[in-house]
């Protein structure tokens, strides 16, 4: 085993200090060391998008980052999406209402990717949404219901912000 490296990072508003092996991926660190198992792992080589999390405001594959690379970063996982009181985020509500999930395995990645999209672009058109959804793979829902959920979430967030 190589020497452990000390890192400090903020995850869902909580600061953490930890020692990690350099080869530990950020996804494995979140799941194993911080017990944040909401971030799921699919292909582990950047293709499926299921492990997508927010690092310094940007949606990225947590399987394609080392935990040591996240030193000093601000991270949000699916656990940070809803309120502390257990209230679901409008994107999560829209997924339920529009049947944007079936088995739910890929859903954490979709939610985070869509969160970034709507933060940058509050009312995206179909093409802009599909550009982002193209980076996420779902094997059961079919993407039309997810597309509808994004439009619905955009409307909810727009109404809440107005």
């Amino acid at each position: 085993m190589t020497a452990l490296v000390q890192i400090q990072l903020t995850v869902n508003g909580t600061s953490h200090e930890a020692h990690v092996e350099p080869r530990t991926t950020l996804a494995d660190f979140l799941r194993s060391q911080l017990a944040l198992t909401g971030t799921h792992l699919g292909c582990e080589h950047g293709v499926c998008g299921i492990c997508t999390i927010l690092v310094d405001g940007r949606a990225v594959r947590s399987c394609l980052m080392l935990a040591v690379q996240a030193d000093g970063s601000e991270i949000m996982t699916v656990e940070g999406l809803g309120g502390a009181d257990g209230k679901l985020h409008p994107i999560q509500e829209a997924f339920i209402e529009e049947h944007g999930l079936q088995c739910g395995f890929c859903t954490p990645g979709f939610l985070i990717a869509i969160y970034e999209l709507l933060k940058d672009n509050p009312s995206p058109d179909d093409a802009e949404i599909l550009d982002v959804l193209g980076g996420q793979i779902c094997r059961c829902t079919g993407y039309q219901s997810i597309l509808r959920a994004v439009h619905s979430a955009a409307a909810k967030l727009g109404a809440a912000g107005a």
Binding site: M1, T2, A3, V5, E21, P22, R23, T24, T25, D28, E44, H45, G46, G49, T52, R58, A59, V60, R61, C63, L64, M65, L66, V68, Q69, D71, A113, E116, L117, L130, D131, V132, G134, G135, Q136
Partner: protein, 296 residues
Amino acid sequence: MKPAPFEYLAPTSVGEAIAALQEFDGEAKILAGGQSLMPMLNMRLARPGLVVDLRRVADLDYIDERGGRLAIGAMTTKRTVERSAAVQTGQPLLHAATVSIGHPQIRNRGTVGGSMAQADPAAEYPAMAVALQATLKVVGPGGERTLDAEDFFVTYLTTALEPGEVLTELNVPVFDTKNGWGFSEIARRHGDFAMAGAAVTLTLDDSGCCAEPRIALFGVGATPVRPRTTEDSIRGQRPSEALCQAAGKQVSEEIDEPLSDVHASADYRRNLAGVMARRALADAMRRLGADIASTA
């Protein structure tokens, strides 16, 4: 945890990175955005002794306009390039190549220098760099040198970078309305590596005929491929739909036997290379005012 163990270093200067690369003498890998290296580590296709992470090296993340060219730092992400007004207005071929790479979630991390140094023959950036006559700044133990993109790509995943050298900057020309360009690629799924693609640049001479046509094909050889016979036969000709058709056919005939794999057979790639070149050339001519149907 899938990668094999490695030592990790995050230097704060290029000099420190070079010293580490020299110390590990070919056993070290540079980590930029990680969108190619991390899959290779996860699958243990790469087992470096040392990973040198450039994230803390200051001053490698910039897009500067200098003397009619754009200088782009090696650690600049694709997302920054794609959103840069200087790139959108000044180098539209670079912009088109950038938004064709992967997905936004990949472009958020992937860097300009990473794509160049990875030198995947199916990737967009190497062909873009060859079409644009880009230059690359490289820093090593002996100092700095500048390489033409065409000399940088040696073969599959192999560049002219020496083991102790670090790529620090991509430099491309700024285009105006006199520069025609086209970019075309085809993949099985949106965001996948292309089965074949083409980047084209073109200008017209005083009589309105094609001058300096450059075609860089990707996905068909070990490096970006320039079909020079086709370029020669375009030069001096008046832009037309027929010229695009003929050029596309000639590209398919001219190129060496492409790779055959699970994604596409050699014959299919040969055909696609011609179609992609034809479309990109037609787009370049259209941007220079030629009346060519979009189906050309």
